[in-house]
């Protein structure tokens, strides 16, 4: 498990191998892993893809507002 604090929120990546879980302040967020591009994306952020689950978590914190 990895854990970082980002702009006042705790982002946790649970599990070292797929399927991992993305938690932000203990709340789980679903995501999609694209095998073709090796990127992570979320229905919450329909215009973007992210190289790591941690980057996706940071983008959710920064852009999705009250989560």
């Amino acid at each position: 498990m990895s854990e970082i604090n980002h702009n006042g929120k705790k982002i946790q990546i649970v599990g070292d191998e797929t399927p991992q879980k993305l938690l932000i302040d203990q709340k789980e967020f679903s995501f999609i892993f694209d095998n073709d591009t090796k990127t992570f994306s979320s229905l919450l952020l329909p215009y973007s893809r992210h190289d790591t689950l941690e980057d996706l978590g940071k983008a959710i914190v920064d852009n999705v507002g009250d989560i």
Partner: protein, 323 residues
């Protein structure tokens, strides 16, 4: 004919009229209906057997450009209900490419959000504190996070390369299609990530399915539509694809959700017939004198019907007559 102009060329009166009309549409509920329409299209998988993340009624497929052209035109007509002289302005982000560009001034779109207040926009007419811009979806406040999720906007070179790309689209008609003008412009292939990058660069509300909550959405998509219009002008012999056999809602004559059966990709291809053009699109070339001569000779029965029809066909082929 409505001519859509670069937002950086609007004078203070034109900017004020545009902003005022947006505020009227917000107050009477029209604006939020447009936001909901975009959210609904984003959630409508096409076909229903796939995830809307793979392809939906308005994104990640060939109808990305027709759907947004229709959406923008309907929105523009609503603005013109308030003030008939308004046309949608476009934001050329290859030129106005910084957080200090004219578009972000307080008399127009306002600036970026306050990072210590959840990236809420606190300046300009759409600041929540103004009391005029309360979001009914993903609110309550408009948020921006300019330059954080993406540190740059698309460049002129990336746009030029995109405009040279053929064909319009290709199988499997989704975010993996290549070569594909549509997919390069939408931003799922290529380093430019053109349309998507702009959503990411603005950040905040613009990164969500409810992105039209930010009025800059319409200026951004107006520029995307302008680029499609430029591509159409540059490649007159290239057709919209797929004509048939593609995913539901994305073929040339498929109904665009949520509009009626007469609203299809085919129905929006000729933007001039729809009543608008852009200040960067040249008008049709002048009619050459030989056409006048042919018309006169035909009326005098000096030449055959076939010769006269040939001259009409020439006018169509050279985009002087648009069907």
């Amino acid at each position: 004919m409505n001519v859509r102009k670069n937002c950086s060329t609007l004078d203070s009166d034109e900017k004020r009229k545009f902003v005022d009309a947006l505020l009227v549409l917000k107050s009477d509920g029209t604006y939020d209906r447009f936001v909901q329409m975009h959210v609904d299209a984003m959630a409508r998988a096409t076909p229903s057997s796939v995830s809307p993340m793979d392809r939906n009624a308005a994104h990640k497929g060939p109808s990305f450009l027709p759907w947004h052209r229709e959406y923008l035109r309907r929105f523009e007509l609503e603005l013109q209900r308030i003030d008939s002289e308004i046309t949608l302005p476009y934001w050329d982000w290859t030129v106005d490419n910084s957080s200090t560009s004219i578009i972000w001034q307080d008399d127009f779109m306002g600036g970026t959000g306050n990072p210590s207040n959840n990236n809420r926009v606190e300046t300009g007419p759409f600041a929540h504190s103004s009391g005029d811009w309360d979001l009914s979806i993903d609110g309550p406040a408009l948020r921006r996070n300019i330059g954080i999720m993406s540190n740059r906007l698309p460049t002129e070179i990336e746009v030029t390369n995109c405009l040279a790309t053929l064909p319009y689209d290709s199988t499997p008609w989704d975010r993996t299609s290549s070569p594909s003008f549509r997919n390069l412009l939408e931003g799922w292939i290529g380093n430019g990530m053109i349309h998507n990058r702009v959503h990411m660069w603005v950040g905040g509300s613009m990164t969500l399915g409810s992105s039209p909550n930010d009025p800059v959405f319409f200026l951004h998509h107006c520029n995307v539509d302008r680029l499609w219009a430029e591509w159409q002008r540059l490649h007159l012999s290239e057709s919209y694809l797929p004509i048939s056999g593609g995913p539901e809602g994305h073929n040339l004559n498929d109904q665009l959700f949520p509009w009626d059966e007469n609203t299809t990709p085919a129905s929006v291809l000729n933007f001039v017939s729809a009543g608008f053009t852009y200040d960067t699109i040249p008008g049709p070339p002048p009619i050459p004198d030989w056409i006048r001569n042919v018309a006169r000779w035909w009326s005098e029965r000096s030449i055959s019907d076939d010769e006269y029809v040939n001259s009409i066909q020439w006018l169509i082929q050279n985009n002087i007559i648009r069907l």
